[in-house]
Symmetry: D3
Subunit: 244 residues, 6 copies
């Protein structure tokens, strides 16, 4: 079976990680997974929230949002509705947890980094693109702080890389990195977050139509681990290049 955009089942969409997109943020990346584009900025500030003061440890958090016309049909702004929806909350929490999994709070010291992931254009996989891009922005913000001695010399706040990808069963076939059209037709949809060494940070699988069995789950996990490996390579390549 050939995919809607001609990819092989285990193939990612074209990935780009454009560093230094914003002149203000300490780290910023415009990440693209095919037509999905997310602007990820990392804001570094000295100090931590009150509940963490005096601990010697830092904090990392994330906020996800979507521009109203990032999607095919315009959605209402959450600021206009006056409340953040459940989906937004859920994804913001997932991004935050994923990035904290590779943070050594002691090494970060009493500093805070906020990751803002704003979806400029959506075509499936916005949360996985956000995590993958946010990691690069986070790494740049850490470098920025190290350059200004805001992090102690010799400390390495990042313990590994982290990336994420979606997988799903569409028309009976396990596929990697679903675009929107595949996503809406998927029986099962799974988001997997892995560290650079191939271990799991998050596994979130949902039966959209039929429940799935252990064999299907295993096939999806195989695809996802390989995909996260490819994304980790893309992250390393981006970080080795010179930011413009």
């Amino acid at each position: 079976m050939s995919r809607i955009d001609g990819r092989a089942p285990e193939q990612l969409r074209p990935v780009s990680l454009a560093r230094g997109w914003s002149k203000h943020a300490e780290g910023s990346v415009l990440v693209a997974f095919g037509d999905t584009r997310v602007l990820c900025t990392a804001s570094f500030t000295e100090g931590v929230p009150r509940w963490r003061k005096g601990s010697g440890e830092g904090w990392v958090t994330a906020e996800y949002s979507m521009l109203p016309r990032a999607t095919n049909t315009r959605g209402d702004r959450e600021s206009v509705r006056g409340r953040i929806g459940g989906r937004t909350h859920e994804i913001s929490r997932l991004i935050g947890r994923s990035l904290r999994a590779v943070i050594d709070y002691k090494a970060l010291g009493e500093n805070t980094i906020v990751l803002d992931c704003d979806v400029l254009q959506a075509d499936g996989g916005t949360r996985t693109a956000a995590i993958t891009g946010a990691y690069v922005a986070l790494a740049d913000a850490v470098s920025w702080a190290q350059g200004r001695k805001l992090i102690k010399a010799g400390r390495r706040p990042l313990t590994d890389t982290v990336s994420a990808v979606s997988v799903g069963i569409v028309g009976g076939a396990p596929l990697l990195d679903l675009c929107y059209e595949e996503d809406v037709r998927a029986d099962t949809d799974m988001n997997v977050v892995c560290t650079g060494d191939g271990r799991f940070v998050e596994v979130q699988g949902t039966a959209e139509a039929e429940p799935f069995d252990r064999k299907e789950l295993n096939a999806l996990l195989d695809l996802a681990v390989a995909g996260c490996g490819d994304l980790a390579a893309a992250q390393r390549a981006a970080l080795e290049a010179t930011a413009d």
Copy 2:
């Protein structure tokens, strides 16, 4: 290794499913997983939300909440804060998806069932207890509606049972059905929702401390599938008894 409450690693806490707890609701269950107690009510109403009118299909949704002093330290009410937190949103959505996985909307007809899961006392596993109890309340509401001919004769809106359990790795050991003290010490925490035939509806695993590998994931899934089987048996037993 012995557990804090003396259970074997693969052992559930004592489970009870007290049907007919509320005189007003069409279905109601006070579910207990050890000291975790959740009041689940199912409210049946004829008609569906506007976006579903004329489809001939029903709708099922859920809301989860916690009383302020269900936990060891009193939490602020979300009604007083004026907004629902991300965790509440996330769990409400999980419960709704889990129950919809066993609903045949056509058989339900244009009727709506709302599941309210209010945690009266929390000791870990509130969301899995809520799903397990809500299924029983849902089944009772369906029977109630069948008794009143609000669902067409011969239609079976429930395609299977559904239950849920938490698993986690604590001190290196995979454990079933974590109580609160185990939960806070877990390196990895996973919630698994299964249908009665042993397939997956949701798999949500999170590395709280160290990332987890494939072998650990497999051990957790084995535990969870067995635990959900035990819970399905408890659900069947409760439904075969006569509600008071």
Copy 3:
């Protein structure tokens, strides 16, 4: 005239005050006035709100809420609507004032007790059951604090007991402790809060249909004072028993 449930006009519904219902709260009571069931928890914390710091005096406050399916028809959650309704506000304020009427702030010291009264099932008289049950939870929380020396030895923060009951004129007859069906048919509805010595803390009478005259008011007050006396006896009996 016989009442809908066979009671005499001056007769309370069966009252129960189950102490120690919650394992977390410093005081907790599941109170029932017939089919009305309210879970009352008392949360004791050291310290007082900012405006009271340094005064040497404590504080007591209350929050009332109703589960969505406590009533015959499901109500929207106030947390979902994003605002607390006027009725909820009004009852929370009434409960707080009623309990503060028997508190000696100096004797309590700079400690705060929050009473949460959550209606699990409603059948009329939820506010009066809440006050009556909350008093017992409050007394248990005070004892708990005395046992831990959080209140100075010899201090008695409670100056008296406090209980509450509804009365009303239904079909021309003054009745004590209205159930829901009586309440909706009442011409006049009154809630009365009394201390153990029979004095008034609150008198709130409302003409639902016809205005009422002085004679009717007097008949209602007579009923209410007697009913509060019976409730005070039930409170004393519950507190003399050993909490489970």
Copy 4:
């Protein structure tokens, strides 16, 4: 004992009811009880809320609010805080109930009257001044509608007058119509709403310090009934004069 402003215990403050204060409203009164000044407007609209359509019956409701500097210390605006406080809710509900007590919904027909009571300057008794003034504005709005044949000929939507006054025990003495300084020193504070024929619509007594006994309650009720009688006379006098 002489009162702070030299009044006798059973004496009202100077009362004025200035009709026609607003050029836009169908009825409007600037009511003063001493230094307490409340602008009451009655807005008449054809039609009723959805839940009342087709009933042939009208609806009357009220909203109370206070300007930020109506009081000695500036209060935050509820619009700025984004939520209405419990006190505001409670008073709005009281005013609405009080005026509905003298409305014949059938005679009003399917029309709605909204009473807005905005406190321009507060010196105690704002809710009782609001009820007393709102009645006159309501009467003017009814006349306006009768003049335009929006209410059927021969129908009398008002069944009686309604007025309200505060009473309290200050320094052991029962006093009528408390000003702010008396109010803060009162042991017991009661608001009483009476129809023109001297019957009760609302009786709301609260022990601010010491509980009160039956004898004190009776003394307060005597004072209040007489005071409401004086206010009813003032209302009639105002309505007999020609509105400017």
Copy 5:
């Protein structure tokens, strides 16, 4: 062309500035521009917002609001809607900026003055009446503080007077101080705020229908500057009179 109320094009409506309207506020003015009536109160408090502490400088801010029935049709309260509308925000900000233009923060010292402008009756020009009246209330609050030595002797916190007026092109003719009926028919609507020396603090011109050209703009500015001059004279006259 004669205007709807018989005025000449360059003529203000009757202006009144009644000082001392409120007994609580440090400065208060009931300002009328024809049938537009705005109650302006100035609340003086020692101290400044946190972000300004230690600067030695004061702060002045403003809030604008409209009573629900100030207009011909009743509007919903912003407190009931739970959010402040864009128009209210915009006008509050304009009033604050306008008054700060004549404040010497150093001379004011670390004190805060809040101007509340509540529209009691609206007939066009509510924001310009509010600015003009608020200046007088502000001046009174400054005098009050000087009288109590809360402002250092010899300091003059007010550097000039400030007033405002609306102008517009109606039926091709430039007109001063539009009433509501003129305002709705205007092609161009402009609000101009001037200091007493005739310079501009704000110029806000909007093409409601046709864009306007430079010549029309100049004609409107000529009218506005003259009108502000007349208002400045009225402000001086009011402040020279003895407040009641």
Copy 6:
């Protein structure tokens, strides 16, 4: 005097108008005024808001927002705060009015176009860049609708072009198109919106420090009119090019 970035006083920053930036929107432009970058999307939908139904006329509205890290210091999200700030409201309203000034509602027919202007990076002049870019997105959405016959043949909904620019007095000199550093140092700040024929849609001048006189106002208007002319040329050039 030379400007911070070397421009002449009457010189715009480099302007770019990248059409077709979004694959979903009916019109989309990434506009840059120097380092200020705003993503403008135009969403075309058939139908109009309820209050306009049956009029045969269309509607155009706008929403402005800023990403949290568009600025040098991260700002809180308005969706997280739960309310839209006054500045956001004010700018959204300005953009909407400006674009409606060149719309022929009859020619548009009963269709709605929503302009979303999201500031990705801010360096002064975000509202003027938004208006200038939104016009181009609007023109593309109109062409899109004409191509699909959603607008009747021969109808021209756009009556002219519209563009906007900021001007200000910095260090005594009138300057065109202020960047952020100039903006914070400006004594007077003015935003001017012009149609393609050089007439005014909006003139909003504010004295940030010293009030300004007529001569300064005239100098600013001269600069702004010329600047808007240059922007109108850039808009025409962009629209004549083929969108990618």
